[in-house]
Amino acid sequence: MRRRNWMVLIYLFVCFLVPRHVFTQTSNMEPLVPKETPDGWIARGAPQTFTKETLFEHINGQADLFLQYGFEGSIFAVYGNNKSSQEKIDLDIYDMGAVVQAFGVFSRFRQDDRPGGIGLDSYLDDRYAFFYKGKYFVALQATESSSDGIKQIARTVESRIVDSSPPPKEIGYFPKRGLKPGSIEYYPQGLMGRQFLKRGFKATYVKPDKTEAAAEGPDSNLFIAVFPNPEEAESAFRSFKEVLIKKGSAHAPLSPQTGFEPARGEDAYQGKLIIAHKGPYLIGAAGFEKEKDAESLLAELSASIK
């Protein structure tokens, strides 16, 4: 009983005397939000913060995407301009927990390659800006065409983020030859639309044949599925191979000079497929018209994985 009393006392001490922030690791993002920018953009009112529980109230169904990517919390502010009462810019800063997740959300939002030179990578047009830096994904949206205002606020936010994490290393594995700029995406689950591939990266490659028929066909992709260990990557490789065999679309294996043993097949939606595994990765090429192109890019990808 005495022990219990002591414990109650300790509990009360913990609850009332120890500062709350000792237990609360949710980062305070307010310092990331500038009050104003040099060219007259001023934050209207206090910024609003959102948690996993409340994000939905702010961005509706879109919250699902953020939650899939490990959303931790966000802050939202609205900026107005002295010169025009109509113009406003919305700023959202999302704490995604890790750089790979911040990149992932960024990669799903950017529409094509329009880098703005902000953060680790960015997309910028006259109405929208998206960038990621460290574990943060930042989105800006202007009501009027205002690339200068968006850029100003984005740069100010960027300078306030002190997270110096490098971008995910897998981005660097993709061969540059033929890579469609700004096309690398990260999926936290269901890579290439397949449940068993789970998380990983996908990049799109420009087709040499620019005819209408080629444009209508499936994209040419290289992909890297990431597994916790080589055994799981090998197991996923076997599952993938089985799917191809079951669908009757598995082709005879190649005799590669690439140092890995791939499986080949065809998919109704993704075209010709070549898959292989290396270390904790399952790598693949999909939708390439010429197998030679796919093979050589895959070999390059494989070689870059150290």
Binding site: Y11, D64, R108, G193, R194
Partner: protein, 380 residues
């Protein structure tokens, strides 16, 4: 599926009453699984009074970036695709538009506009949507996420939607709602000013929502259901049971629902959902939901508050149970940890498990002590 709706409704409504009442008549009606599996044809329903015939299982493209998944849905016969201007900063509409180009006459597209203060902004949003979707018109244009019954019949909103119809940019219009759905649906049914309503709806929701949906359908509104699977538990944790199909069938049992738009991101998911079409809520599904319910019984706290004040040391066990649900049910360790931290319960968990016997007796059979032990093991 919305985590928020899922969690909130989950704890409110995941009671034996909901599932029990729903499944008992079906069991007694003698529906057989064999009979249910025979009919695998596509199932079409009227979208209210619009005259549109939609597949009862459609596709919520919201989080889908993979053209293969959308194409698979199309090939499986799905004819109704839901997106919104805001999804992925507009990119989702781009993807949907690209994939469905050349198939426009075979599909129905629904998108949403987030109503801004100015008419010009709204108009621009719709025009951008059309450009992204590579079409001159959408079949259904919804005002995105209305929150109060007053908003439903807001004159500027209705004026704008009417204008979009007159200009041929939208064939039919309506609204979407995620919160406080029943009052909004009732308001819409009463006013008769919308043709389509998109609402969260799943087996965890109350009868109030079911009745409001019935009222809306009776008024000729095409009811589109989202968040139909309410999150759901992972199959591997439930002895292989996947409640997704049963949950979807549960929604489709309600003939007042025109179509369901489960949000899918993989080929496996769309195949699983589409195969529900043309099947009935069978004995097997009843068993699955009963099993699901019994899985929840004793595991899931419904936050009834019955144990509040029971602990002599003042520990709030409801918060513990919420954290346990996040960990065990949603398999979201971060969320569980956050719930524990928010409630200052990490220390209390240590204390709690040292009690020789827990005085909390849960009417639903939740083993409170076991759940606290689980949290202690994980977050020690």
């Amino acid at each position: 599926m919305s985590k928020k709706i899922g969690r909130r409704t989950f704890v409110k409504g995941a009671t034996s009453a909901v599932l029990g009442l729903a499944t008992a008549p079906l069991l007694s009606a003698g529906h057989s699984y064999a009979a249910a599996t025979k009919n695998r044809a596509l199932d079409y329903r009227n979208l209210g009074k619009t005259g549109l015939r939609v597949t009862s299982v459609s596709m919520g493209a919201m989080n889908c970036s993979d053209p293969a998944v959308i194409l698979r849905a199309f090939d499986l016969g799905v004819n109704f695709f839901d997106t919104a201007r805001r999804y992925m900063g507009g990119r989702n509409e781009e993807i949907v538009g690209k994939v469905l180009q050349g198939k426009r006459d075979k599909v129905l597209i629904q998108t949403k506009v987030r109503m801004a203060a100015g008419e010009r902004e709204n108009r621009e949003s719709v025009e951008t949507s059309l450009k992204s979707l590579r079409t001159d018109y959408v079949d259904v244009l919804l005002a995105h996420s209305l929150k109060t019954p007053d908003e439903v019949c807001d004159p500027p909103l209705l004026e704008f939607l009417q204008a979009m119809k007159k200009e041929g940019k939208a064939r039919f219009t309506g609204f979407s709602t995620h919160t406080d759905m029943a009052p909004l649906l009732r308001a819409a049914a009463k006013a008769g000013c919308h043709e389509v309503a998109l609402t969260s709806y799943n087996f965890t929701h109350s009868n109030e929502l079911k009745e409001a949906i019935a009222l809306a359908a009776k008024a000729g509104i095409g009811v589109v259901a989202m968040k139909t699977q309410a999150g759901g538990y992972k199959a591997h944790n439930m002895g292989g049971l996947s409640p997704h199909q049963a949950a979807l069938k549960y929604v489709l049992m309600d003939q007042n629902v025109s179509t369901a738009i489960p949000g899918v991101t993989t080929i496996e998911q769309i195949e699983e959902c589409v195969s529900v079409m043309g099947t009935e809520f069978s004995r097997k599904d009843s068993r699955a939901l009963q099993q699901y319910d019994s899985y929840l019984q004793g595991r899931i706290c419904t936050m009834c508050g019955g144990c509040e004040g029971e602990c002599p040391y003042g520990v709030n066990h409801t918060d513990f149970m919420r954290a346990a649900m996040y960990y065990d049910g949603y398999e979201n360790k971060n969320l569980a940890e956050e719930a524990l931290r928010e409630g200052g319960l990490l220390q209390a968990a240590k204390r709690c498990s040292e009690c020789s016997s827990c005085s909390i007796v849960c009417g639903r059979g939740v083993d409170v002590r076991a759940q606290v032990e689980l949290l202690k093991r994980v977050f020690a």
